[in-house]
């Protein structure tokens, strides 16, 4: 069941809220976790009945392993801990990677192999990572969960089960254990509903409109059609916006649902395209995943490599640098692989590892030369460079295979010529005769077939580009508007454009959420899956 489907919006969510209300008025609060767990299973069952037992087996075994870790000491404790890690990695590998790796391995050995007819269970990457983090946390001495029902609900809550955020037990234990944000408190309901409406609008209206322009270009690239330079650039930049609106919209909906059912879920986005370097980008994009990677992969690998290097009596500065680059590249390699078992995702991850490494080299270079550039211009330039770098990596992320990515990069680099299509020339005004006369853009051109559907005129595409850019760079983000944990820092608010300030329970905000929801529902002609559902 998708958050933007009619079944979820008009049946499932109202029913859950109604039941919560009934349980609340009957003063049977103790039933809430059970109710939410059953609701989560019903929600998950709708995607594929087979996925439910796979999830329940994972939860049960992890619960038993976690109890074994807590109740044993010294050597046994270590054994149970490593058994838990091994179990989760194997479980994920079997359901997500076996078909692909099996295919490669058997073809190398010259044995024919028919892939097992099972698609990767929805959300398996998320619930496995949530449980790995839990195991590491309790092994390090953090609080554990004794009650199996609470544990099961912590892993499988429908608000974040299918596509995150990657919650940690310590972040939601209070709200899970009945210390709710207030069962159906009118303010949280209204706030959650508005946040949900914003997310739904981002997904169903903006990301959907962008995908209609992006998809034909990537489909044509998959068929090895020679793409027109300008069309490819437009599609690639619009995809950057699409994936942001799609995934941050999904996260907003998850947080909104969390508020409505009384669970405080951590923020996952904070205007990532306003980052002025790649490290800053990862502090703002898919925040819960990047924190996971930092805490459970990067730091342990960095520490182990540094210790190992120092043990070999190598110069400490060399060790520290080598360990940093090694940890960065290996962590981002895993991050890519986590997204999918294909060369495109692996290269996407590694390319981010390379960008982070370049960032460190650049920072060290600046420090050595004592360069402290802090002008408005350099900041904007840094944002543009960061955005374009990330946009280039999204090409790998979006392409179904390496051949598609190569075709897109070929067109982006101008190797299909720099031909300006007539429809773009038409809006260039005074520049038009100049470009036509020069003939420069026609030289060496091999691609003249427009791929973009003709119903989208250039004006519409440019307006879409402008609106997306305006929202991404000029409007306050949802974290600024809805700061949930009561620590609103309005100093961060980048100007109250059009009166969009902090959310308050007011007529203005109820009108905004009504307009957003109605537009999104009317607009959602075709229900499309979220990009992050396949992970």
């Amino acid at each position: 069941m998708l958050f933007n489907s009619a079944n979820f919006l008009f049946l499932f969510l109202p029913a859950v809220l109604l039941l919560l209300y009934v349980v609340g008025t009957l003063k049977k609060q103790a039933l809430i976790p059970l109710l939410l767990f059953i609701a989560s299973m019903v929600f998950y069952y709708q995607s594929n009945p087979l996925f439910v037992p796979i999830l329940l087996v994972s939860i049960s075994i992890n619960y038993l392993l976690s109890r074994a870790i807590i109740n044993s000491f010294l050597c046994r404790r270590n054994i149970w801990f490593y058994a838990a890690l091994l179990f989760n990695i194997t479980y994920l590998a079997v359901f997500k990677y076996l078909n692909i790796f099996g295919l490669h391995l058997f073809s190398l050995l010259g044995i024919s192999w028919s892939p097992v007819a099972i698609s990767a269970p929805l959300g398996i990457s998320f619930y496995t990572f949530i449980q790995i983090a839990y195991m590491i946390d309790i092994y390090s001495g953090d609080d554990d969960e004794k009650n199996p029902l609470f544990y099961a609900l912590f892993v499988s809550n429908f608000a974040y089960l299918t596509a995150g955020p990657l919650v940690r037990y310590c972040q939601i234990k209070e709200t899970l254990k009945g210390k709710l944000l207030g069962i159906l408190s009118s303010e949280n309901l209204a706030k959650g509903l508005t946040l949900f409406a914003v997310g739904l609008f981002k997904k169903a209206v903006i990301a959907q409109s962008l995908s209609e322009i992006v998809n034909p270009v990537f489909s044509a690239a998959a068929l090895q059609v020679k793409l027109i330079y300008w069309e490819t650039w437009i599609a690639v930049i619009l995809y950057s916006f699409q994936i942001y609106f799609d995934f941050s919209g999904y996260s907003d909906m998850a947080l909104g649902i969390g508020l409505m059912i009384g669970i405080s879920i951590p923020w996952n986005f904070d205007s990532p395209y306003r980052a002025d370097n790649i490290v800053d980008f990862w502090r703002r994009w898919h925040i819960t995943l990047s924190n996971w990677i930092k805490d459970y992969l990067f730091t342990p690998v960095n520490y182990t490599l540094t210790r190992f290097g120092l043990g070999l009596n190598i110069n400490s500065s060399i060790v520290s640098n080598a360990a940093y680059y090694g940890a960065t590249l290996s962590s981002m390699f895993i991050c890519g692989l986590w997204h999918g078992a294909s060369m495109t995702f692996v290269l996407w991850g590694v390319s981010h590892g390379v960008l982070i490494s370049i960032n460190r080299l650049w920072t060290e270079f600046k420090n050595r030369l004592k360069l402290h550039i802090k002008s408005r211009f350099s900041c904007v330039l840094a944002q543009i460079v960061t955005f374009l770098s990330v946009t280039m990596t999204w090409v790998l992320f979006r392409s179904d295979n390496m051949a598609t990515a190569k075709s897109i990069f070929a067109s982006l680099s101008g190797s299909n010529g720099l031909y300006v299509p007539g429809r773009l020339l038409a809006v260039l005004g005074p520049l038009r005769p100049l470009l036509q006369k020069s003939g420069f853009f026609d030289a060496g051109n091999t691609a003249k077939n427009n791929v973009l559907p003709t119903q989208f005129d250039t004006g519409y595409i440019l307006i879409l580009l402008f609106i997306s850019a305006f929202i991404v760079w000029a409007l306050p983000n949802t974290k600024d508007i809805f700061e949930i944990n009561g620590s609103s820092q309005n100093a961060r608010m980048p100007g109250k454009i059009f009166g969009i300030g902090e959310w308050t329970p007011s007529i203005k905000w109820s009108c905004i959420s009504a307009v957003l929801i109605v537009t999104a529902v009317l607009y959602a002609g075709t229900i499309s899956e979220f990009i992050y559902f396949k992970f």
């Binding site: 590491i136 390090s140 953090d142 990067f298 342990p300 182990t304 120092l310 520290s320 920072t363």
Partner: protein, 77 residues
């Protein structure tokens, strides 16, 4: 209470002249202490006190006060 010795190691590693460090100070509140420098600082602290942390201890550290406590517990054993 953060000891002068621990404070000195941290500030020297980050090339800072002075910064007010308390028990509840978070690593990322100290200028320059990011994931890039985190491990170098931990290793510098180990070196200064001639102690060795375990991985779970490193992962669990939440603020400078906890680092001080961890150092104290290592020295006393």
């Amino acid at each position: 209470m953060i000891s002068e010795r621990l404070k000195k190691v941290i500030l020297a590693k980050l090339k800072l002249d002075e910064f007010d460090i308390h028990d509840v100070t978070l690593a990322n509140e100290i200028p320059g202490w990011d994931s890039l420098n985190h491990i170098s600082i931990i290793i510098a602290v180990e070196k200064e006190y001639n102690i060795r942390f375990k991985m779970p201890e490193v992962l669990k550290l939440k603020n400078i006060g906890e680092l001080q406590k961890l150092v104290d517990s290592k020295i006393s054993t």
